[in-house]
Amino acid sequence: MEEFFQQLTNGLAVGGIYALIALGYTMVYGVLKLINFAHGDLFTIGAFLGLTLLTSLGLSDHMGPLLGVIALAVMVIVLVGLIGFLLERTAYRPLRNSQRLSAVVSALGASIFFQNAVMLIWGARPLVYPHNILPTTAISIFGMDVPLVRILMFSTSLVLMYALYYLTHKTKIGAAIRAAAIDQGAAKLMGIDVNRVIALVFCIGPALGGAAGVMVGLYYGQISFTMGWMYGLKAFTAAILGGIGNIPGAMVGGLLLGVIEALGAAYISIAWKDAISFLVLILILIVRPTGLLGERVADKV
């Protein structure tokens, strides 16, 4: 029971990260019907930018850990959002009206490009985040010790997810995003500037991914230039699990996948941990392509 609970909290902490990355996939897919393969690498860029800013500006020394990390997250969110915006302008917008699969290949090219750019800039060897920033204490829940970091991670992702949910479901901009996702033509006729909506989506998605990158760096302490690929694939699995294009679906899918993976690693085999996620992906696509919360027609697959 103790181990089960520990794995559950660990799964929820990791699942929160998957959910944040999955939101980027699902928002872009909702509006453009495009799988943004470069999204995982934007997450990597977020992690590396975060490390550089953290060490070069000495944020946590000047402002204290909590404010420092918040300032860091804001900077990374802005920078990665900007990169996402530029990516959409250069690699995807020229292909808006061509075949769907051309855009997919372009996205794949962008992913390879970013991954190798990170390698050339920061080097091929894994880098280490300073590990004196986050508290190492554990707090007791129902008589079991849970590291405070996990709770912080989980609550941070919940806050970010709620912010996004509020933005998309309670504001005018959010209504425009959802309208563009349902029918671009009709949205244009209603006076919505679809190009601006797409640009905005390409800022918000990568920004959340970048924040997730910083969180992974702080949580695991180690980052490498290839990590975005694995996280990206898992987050994509999470997005499919919840029903792609569906924002609450990505949140549920991410948390669920994190828990499945943590429990699978603990009770089946740690060596097959990654294979379990891919198996979930394949099974979902075969059995229920619309995902858990998706209500889209089968034609999408």
């Binding site: 061509s98 390698m119 050339l120 294979a275």
Partner: protein
């Protein structure tokens, strides 16, 4: 005109035959790699180029073939080249089993699932599945192949084996392109609803495309295992699939010449700019983006199919007229 082409083809073949005499072993080996990738990319070309199925797990089939050869040779002492048909067959069966349930998935979803499959295969190999694959270290000590009592061991020996197989592959692919099967695949690529409406069993044809491509990749796996004498899971990673995918996309989907040019560019060119090896993948990524924006069809797209409709009509009219007379 036709004569000129045949002559040119002969000249190229002769040049190829003489090539190892002028190259040092290193460059011969580079050509061997280009040959191997050409064969692999041509086998992927059936699936990706002709049928238009976005398949990015080709390394999985290649791995099944290579491991079949390695296991049969090291554990049971079967001569390497005798394992080739079985390697192809096992890869084909594997493809049939994994492709059947995913064949109906559209475009980008298929891409993601095939990436998942190639990763699962790699993880299975690393975890020493069935206790046969040797885990992360792989299998070593694969015997050198014998051809009519002659042992192949130097790069130039393999040069003839690989490029001989490559020429055979090109011939086979050329025949395939102009067959009923090849035409059906191209129809499916252009419009699979219309193809289905014209009586083509699209699911069946797509599956056969996968099986054929995997069969060929499996056989190439045998040659790879024989050439390297040591194989490990890292040789069949996702990036191997990306390289093959890039060769077909950049060269031109469904074009034999395109694939040849593609593998010379992607495998050969980095050897010339070896100092810039780190930049290789960066340039690939950039090239993929630029290619999709400015030249979607690839460097050398296949020539459009031509049908002499007038002659066909005349013949049909003649047949009708003859019937009346």
């Amino acid at each position: 005109m036709m004569n000129m082409r045949t002559l040119l083809l002969f000249a190229v073949c002769l040049l190829l035959l003489a090539l190892p005499q002028f190259l040092n072993p290193y460059w011969t080996d580079v050509f061997n790699n280009i040959g191997l990738y050409t064969v692999l990319a041509l086998s992927l070309n059936i699936i990706l180029g002709h049928a238009g199925l976005f398949h990015m797990g080709h390394a999985a089939f290649y791995a099944v073939g290579a491991y079949t050869t390695a296991i049969l040779n090291t554990q049971f002492g079967v001569p390497v080249l005798y394992t080739m048909p079985l390697a192809g067959l096992l890869a084909a069966v594997f493809a049939m089993v994994v492709a059947r349930p995913i064949i109906h998935l559209r475009g980008d979803y298929l891409l993601i699932v095939t990436i998942g499959i190639v990763e699962i295969v790699r993880i299975a190999l690393v975890n020493d599945v069935f206790g046969l694959t040797g885990g992360a270290n792989g299998i070593f000590g694969i015997a050198r192949p014998m051809v009519f009592g002659f042992k192949l061991k130097k790069p130039e020996h393999f040069f003839y084996l690989i490029w001989g197989f490559c020429l055979l592959t090109i011939f086979f692919m050329h025949r395939l392109e102009n067959s009923r099967f090849g035409r059906a695949l191209n129809f499916i690529k252009e419009d699979d609803v219309a193809a289905e409406g014209s009586g083509i069993d699209t699911a069946y044809y797509k599956l056969i495309a996968f099986v054929l491509g995997a069969f060929w990749a499996g056989m190439t796996g045998t040659i790879y295992a024989a050439k390297m004498t040591i194989i490990s899971p890292e040789a069949f990673s996702f990036w191997e699939s990306v390289v093959l995918f890039t060769i077909v996309i950049l060269g031109g989907m469904g074009s034999i010449r395109g694939v040849l040019v593609g593998s010379f560019l992607i495998i050969g060119l980095p050897e010339i700019f070896r100092d810039l090896a780190e930049w290789r993948m960066l340039v690939f990524g950039l090239a993929m983006m630029l290619m999709m924006i400015f030249r979607t069809q690839g460097l050398i797209p296949p020539p459009p199919r031509k049908y002499d409709v007038l002659a066909y009509l005349k013949e049909a009219a003649g047949a009708v007229g003859g019937g009346r007379a």
